[in-house]
Subunit: 79 residues, 2 copies
């Protein structure tokens, strides 16, 4: 079973990577870009076949490892 | 206008970050994880209001900066 996790910074948290991309886009002549926010997407292939159990397992993985819950939000999608 | 870009490694390309996450999950006792692939998600806030123009602009940004098209795929979603 495939599960997708989208990890993004919480609103208000400074995003240095996004700022760097924003600056670089401007340097390359792409104006009209108001803001850039960068996050992670993690695709997990699990042996689990029950969607609810898979989602619960992945939530535990997010809490323990995949996301820094102080500054990041995570969204789990069972594919 | 908000545009989302999902950047993932092409199939067959080694994913050291994914391997590291996979190993760490095993160490934390999460077995049953067959594979882990990690990518980037970039949220762009554009001044452009025409969806087709916005998508074309972002495709050009991907080709020039956001994605390494030799080893990465990118998917653009106008939100």
């Amino acid at each position: 079973m495939q599960v997708r996790v989208d990890i993004t910074l919480k609103t208000g948290v400074l995003d240095p990577q996004g700022e760097a991309v924003h600056h670089a886009l401007g340097t390359l002549g792409f104006d009209g870009v108001n803001s850039v926010r960068q996050g992670k997407v993690i695709l997990l292939d699990l042996a689990e076949t029950d969607p609810a159990k898979a989602e619960a397992d992945v939530a535990a993985m997010c809490e323990k490892l995949l996301a820094n819950t102080v500054i990041e939000n995570y969204a789990i999608t069972v594919l």
